[in-house]
Symmetry: C2
Subunit: 417 residues, 2 copies
């Protein structure tokens, strides 16, 4: 449950960023909380969460590309369009995905926003909605109503919020940073939930990010898309894309800086902060994958194109046969070779270089002269680092995944019971 | 190890075909055998196999599309081109894939064909070669030499052949049929090996088919491609495509019929026989998937295109989260909905219909009124049948897969040890 001794959050912290506490409420002007309304069967388990800004925010959002998306996705898209991406709150339930529920499902998603808007005194189009959990069961609207009536949002509620959105996660996932923009101190923080059915594509699992920086709307959406592409879209737990994946970034402008624009003052540090936060949350989702005992980080260099590097890196994190080798601590690099060959990435077999934990196993496409004991040691810990060089160009990508264990099967053989 | 009580081979046997014994040696004029030369660590385990025809045959072949293919693939392609697809033998080793071994790997694959050709008195280009097993270890050529020197091919050696090509298979896989073509009795039979790293694409795992029918070379390749596309290319054990996948069909012409041509007399029954044999072998590979306890058959109807139907069917067999539900006997159809949504197949969520074992779970994209106990019963047996109707057109596809169990992890966490 606790962070590893050397907190991985501090490891890759870019210069100019300071870690702060609070997740989605780290930035001033945001409140959050959770409540238990009985959607989940465990008594007292938080199953609703609320994020509320003190003022209207500009909002960037990315959603699942699934053709069987949750009814919540349609409502969010509609509200964002009608509000011109100006939003003040999001109401979330866990334990039920509100997906495949037909006309009733759409009505229920709309009703969740209407109930929350009434409670908060907002226009319904200023409220977004997310659901996560079982597919194909109508939302228990009596419980949802009670939850919305009782939920409270507090300035220190970021950690409660993180717990309220969890499903099979073993721990809440939050991170927040502080940095300076145009002489003003601003904050950016957030939370995600995972941790099965994770292989997003142009979208992600549930993710909520908040900042008090002012960001021009076009820049907000552009920088959010870039950050999501290099973080959540590079995370694989099991190769299954969810019907409910959504990521939101709320920018309140409360810090009083001039709205950030591409190339303008402060835009770079803001993007660095957003990339750091999204990559940290993405990596922690992979580490907490269902049943996972090991985090796998795959760095691909030397790709002929960016797409090749991404494809190669994602393929390794998505290979069941390699994920089993990671579980067993077996440096069976033939499975990396095989997966690369089938990945669709352009490659030259005779140039491939593969290392694990700093031990070079493959050079020029054949076995290097390496120490088998050292290779096994590099696979033995809780973090396995795979470095692949395609030697065809200068494009790079990093993907995160986890091992495949009995625990994944246990969680997923019995989920609806 | 034994066939289930109601032999699945007889279930879908088309009219006009009669089951016969013998696998690759069912057809007159083919001999086969195996030997143990010590590549595998288990003492006495067969690890070489030989298929030999009494005369030169026309040969159709399909290979893996992997960019890191085994050196054997390059040699087969070269020999087929130089011999104009006229071949008389194939020599095979299991326990070592001869992949990622650089120039030495290519030399060794060529040498295997040369040694076999010398032993059999054939031109080396008339001999093909396959390897299967661990990637990245040079072939032990001393053992291979001994194996080639001692292996014998016998007219009743089909079952020995099937055992000689096995790796993690729990049982040999053979099938053969007899039928009439232009008043002549002909036979078609074969064997495959699986059973991990199986998600072929325009190719398959190792498969050898023989017939004494005469088939025009163009027709032979065309009918083989169609059969492989609808059989081995619709089998998924774990979504990983191998570096060594190969399928061969030898046609000797010994039966004395006029060479079969598209639309000509006998072409239809030959294609029906080939489709039956390849689908039976493909299905048995899925049933014998690593760790598999259940065979999953996914039939998709109502696709807008053939590609849509195939994509949808394959996606279900490739979903880890659904494969776990199959293992647990959990009729959690939300995972089918989610997988379909992410499959890339064109679909309309509101028209989806899903049934399992004859129980309709989803109608018009929402939960049907079904008996939960009946749904669980439909998931409880050794065969799980999933029927999906997209209601968008009249294209159909069938895919075969298996459940994801502890056994898969056990086999793959420790394979190289």
């Amino acid at each position: 449950m606790s962070q590893p001794p050397d907190d991985p959050k501090t490891r890759d912290l870019p210069a100019g960023l300071r870690l702060v506490d609070g997740g989605v409420t780290a930035a001033p002007g945001f409140r959050a909380g959770n409540t238990a309304c009985g959607i989940k069967t465990e008594p007292g388990a938080p199953d609703m969460a609320l994020l509320l800004a003190d003022r209207e925010c500009d909002v960037a959002a990315t959603f699942t590309t699934s053709q069987t998306a949750s009814h919540t996705i349609a409502v969010c898209r509609d509200h964002l369009q009608r509000s011109r991406h100006r939003t003040q709150a999001v109401i979330i339930n866990s334990g039920n995905a509100n997906c495949s529920n037909g006309a009733r499902g759409l009505d229920d998603a709309i009703r969740m926003t209407a109930l929350a808007a009434a409670r908060l005194g907002l226009d319904p189009t200023k409220v977004l909605v997310s659901s996560t959990g079982i597919i194909g069961r109508p939302l228990p609207m009596d419980k949802i109503e009670r939850g919305i009536a009782q939920i409270e949002a507090r300035p220190d509620g970021g950690h409660d919020f993180a717990r309220g959105i969890m499903t099979t996660d073993t721990r809440p996932k939050t991170v927040a940073v502080e940095f300076d923009v145009q002489g003003k101190t601003v904050r950016l923080g957030g939370s995600t939930k995972g941790v099965g059915m994770i292989y997003p594509n142009m979208a992600t699992m549930l993710c909520y990010l908040t900042t008090d920086a002012a960001v021009a709307p076009d820049e907000l959406q552009a920088v959010m898309k870039r950050a999501v592409d290099d973080s959540f879209n590079m995370v694989c737990v099991d190769g299954d894309m969810s019907t409910n994946d959504s990521a939101f970034l709320f920018a309140s402008g409360g810090a009083g800086n001039e709205p950030l624009r591409e190339g303008g003052p402060g835009a770079d540090v803001f993007e660095a902060a957003l990339r750091y936060v999204t990559r940290t949350l993405g990596r922690e989702m992979a580490r907490d994958g269902e049943g996972a005992k090991k985090l796998m980080t795959v760095r691909v260099r030397g790709g002929a194109t960016d797409a090749d590097a991404r494809r190669a890196a994602r393929a390794i994190t998505n290979s069941d046969i390699w994920k089993c080798a990671v579980a067993g601590g077996d440096p069976n690099w033939g499975r990396i070779i095989s997966t690369l060959g089938a990945s669709g990435a352009t490659l030259d077999h005779d140039r491939l270089e593969i290392g694990i934990g700093g031990v070079t196993l493959v050079k020029d496409g054949v076995a290097a002269d390496y120490d088998q004991a050292a290779a096994k040691r590099a696979m033995a810990g809780a973090e396995v680092e795979i470095d692949i060089h395609l030697h065809l160009g200068d494009h790079e990508a990093t993907a995160w995944g986890c091992d495949l264990t009995y625990g994944y099967i246990d969680e997923n053989a019995t989920y609806t019971r």
